[in-house]
């Protein structure tokens, strides 16, 4: 496909955890291709993502995935304006595969290299559905992150709050493991919770009155104590009700703090982003609450909630247009910060 001169075509690459993904996005909004090779079946037998196993799989697949992304988009490397890649945060060994491949492509073609923050990518997943309207607040929830981000324009991120310990998704996974649910645990808890009743009393960490930070380690410990005590006393635990109680405790805080952040910044637009935004109850509750408050809510479709390269290409488009390029010494950064 020969593109018009006023078009921007970005190749995105994402390997921050256990998905090998490459995508081509046109003008920051239109997905021409989004190839995702998930390793979920590889890691299931270990009960979680094993970093070394993930890195080995990425290295095998990366070239094929990039080639398929270009083929699916009916374009070629020569037509692409820049190569965008997840610089971090994530598993460093996994990130390095994407970064090494992106640098090699930039070197081989002379095209600009654009380093993208993984969370920026998740926020821009929404942009692929409906262009972002500024100012906005985004609730980013995944296995590695729980943050409230404020944006007034493209490419500018201000953090309103973040988790002080476990990410929400991490709490889901740990509690799921405690309940002996198969990996990945988040969707399993979601599935059980819908059938249960919130019978168990669990804490909600609101922190200081005006704080938009989160904390989930106390909740996780409370669930563990509850289960251990019941086991000692030989009492039966109703896992369906426990899943429901736990999920409600997490969602109460996520929903309430998101609304507080919107009110504090006086914005009209709220976005949900990250892997946990696939949680059905979170989607329903946030939609309901936003409607009551007269807030316009954006939620990405399920296929864009999990890690994918289209969101990286979308976020990378605006960085490319702003001239935020990297040179060939670009490195992966497991703790890369979104806010400079």
């Amino acid at each position: 496909m020969k593109k018009n001169s006023n078009e921007t075509l970005i190749l995105g690459i994402e390997t921050s955890c256990d998905e090998t993904s490459a995508a081509v996005v046109q003008n920051g909004t239109k997905i021409l291709s989004n190839v995702i090779s998930s390793q979920i079946d590889v890691h299931r037998k270990f009960g979680g993502v094993v970093p070394e196993v993930a890195s080995r799989r990425h290295v095998e697949r990366i070239t094929l995935i990039i080639q398929k992304a270009l083929e699916d988009a009916e374009t070629c490397l020569e037509e692409v304006d820049a190569i965008a890649v997840t610089k971090g945060p994530g598993l460093v060994g996994a990130l390095l595969i994407g970064v090494s491949a992106a640098k090699a492509l930039a070197f081989a073609t002379g095209k600009p290299l654009v380093p993208v923050h993984h969370i920026a990518g998740h926020i821009y997943a929404n942009h692929l559905v409906k262009p972002l309207t500024f100012p906005l607040v985004a609730l980013v929830v995944s296995g590695g992150h729980t943050e409230l981000i404020y944006m007034t324009r493209h490419n500018q991120f201000e953090r309103l709050g973040k988790t002080r310990d476990d990410a929400a998704g991490e709490a889901f996974d740990k509690v799921a493991r405690l309940m002996k649910l198969p990996y990945p645990g988040g969707p399993q808890i979601d599935r059980l919770a819908i059938q249960g009743e919130p019978r168990y009393q669990l804490p909600r960490a609101w922190l200081e009155t005006d704080s938009l930070d989160f904390s989930f380690s106390g909740l996780k410990s409370a669930v563990m104590n509850l289960v251990n005590k019941a086991r000692q006393r030989g009492e039966e635990i109703n896992y369906t009700d426990l899943a429901c109680s736990f999920q409600m405790a997490v969602l109460d805080v996520l929903v309430e703090k998101s609304i507080r952040a919107v009110k504090k910044t006086k914005v009209k637009h709220l976005l949900l982003a990250g892997g946990v935004s696939a949680n059905s109850s979170l989607r329903i509750r946030l939609t309901e609450r936003a409607r009551q408050e007269g807030i316009e809510l954006g939620i990405p479709p399920l296929e864009l909630c999990t890690d994918n390269a289209a969101m990286i290409a979308a976020a990378g488009t605006y960085q490319f247009l702003d001239g935020k390029h990297a040179d060939l010494s670009l490195n992966a950064d497991a703790n890369f910060s979104l806010v400079e």
Binding site: K45, E52, R56, V59, T63, S100, A104
Partner: protein
């Protein structure tokens, strides 16, 4: 026609360019440092080609070490090389990092044993013998406990040249096991040379060996810990059930 070789399997980061037609090594550079291969490999190649007055489109062939060595280091080299090969549509050849190191002992009369520390008193190693420049793998490349390895080498009853910067950690043990048959490399012989990698790849090319595919992956010589533990558990369960 020019071949670019790169090696990041160990602490040594090396690149070389070999002219396939004139059979001349145009240049070679290597560092032996605890510095980040991920940061340095691509800028080093970029600068190295500039120094040689070469452009990337003048490179017609690539070579990379496929391991063993540092897992992360191997992956940086393999990912970089295979991505450039794919993007430029040029063939990529791979060679074992142990074979590249063994080339430093090609004039030695006896067994040439390159080794890299694999921790827990184990080494990545193999034994090679050269006959008028032709390499023969006498003991297969593997990860093996040092005492078992030395026993095998002692039983071969011939001089053995140990190569690699990690050898010094085992020097006493080696001398005890092999006595007068133990020989050691000079510091210059202890680092794998990217020019040797280029030369080995040239031989593959000239003998019409097929290049690597897009799904080419490193040869780590061992499973990940998680995988081998899982296999052990499966076997145990299999025996019990």
């Amino acid at each position: 026609m020019k071949l670019l070789s790169m090696d990041t399997s160990t602490l040594v980061m090396g690149v070389a360019v070999f002219d396939l037609e004139t059979r001349k090594m145009l240049g070679e550079m290597a560092t032996n440092l605890h510095k980040n291969h991920s940061v340095r490999l691509m800028p080093t190649i970029d600068q190295f080609l500039r120094d040689l007055d070469l452009k990337i489109d003048e490179i017609t062939h690539l070579a990379v070490t496929s391991g063993p060595g540092s897992y992360t280091g191997i992956r940086i080299g393999v990912t970089t090389a295979k991505t450039i090969a794919w993007a430029r549509r040029i063939p990529l050849y791979s060679e074992s990092s142990l074979a590249v190191l063994a080339m430093n002992g090609m004039r030695f009369d006896g067994l040439v044993v390159p080794m890299f520390d694999a921790r827990r008193h184990r080494v990545y190693t193999g034994a090679f013998q050269f006959d008028r420049g032709k390499m023969d793998e006498k003991f297969p490349q593997q990860v093996i406990a040092m005492d078992r390895w030395l026993e095998q080498l002692a039983n071969s009853n011939q001089p053995v040249l140990f190569l690699g910067d990690d050898v010094i950690r085992f020097r006493e043990e080696i001398e005890t096991a092999l006595g007068e048959n133990a020989c050691f490399g000079t510091p210059a012989e202890n680092i794998p040379r990217p020019a040797s990698l280029a030369w080995l790849a040239y031989q593959k090319w000239s003998q019409h060996e097929p290049p690597e595919h897009k799904n080419f992956a490193p040869n780590y010589l061992q499973l990940t810990e998680a995988e081998s533990n899982w296999l052990k558990k499966q076997r145990k369960e299999g025996m019990n059930g």
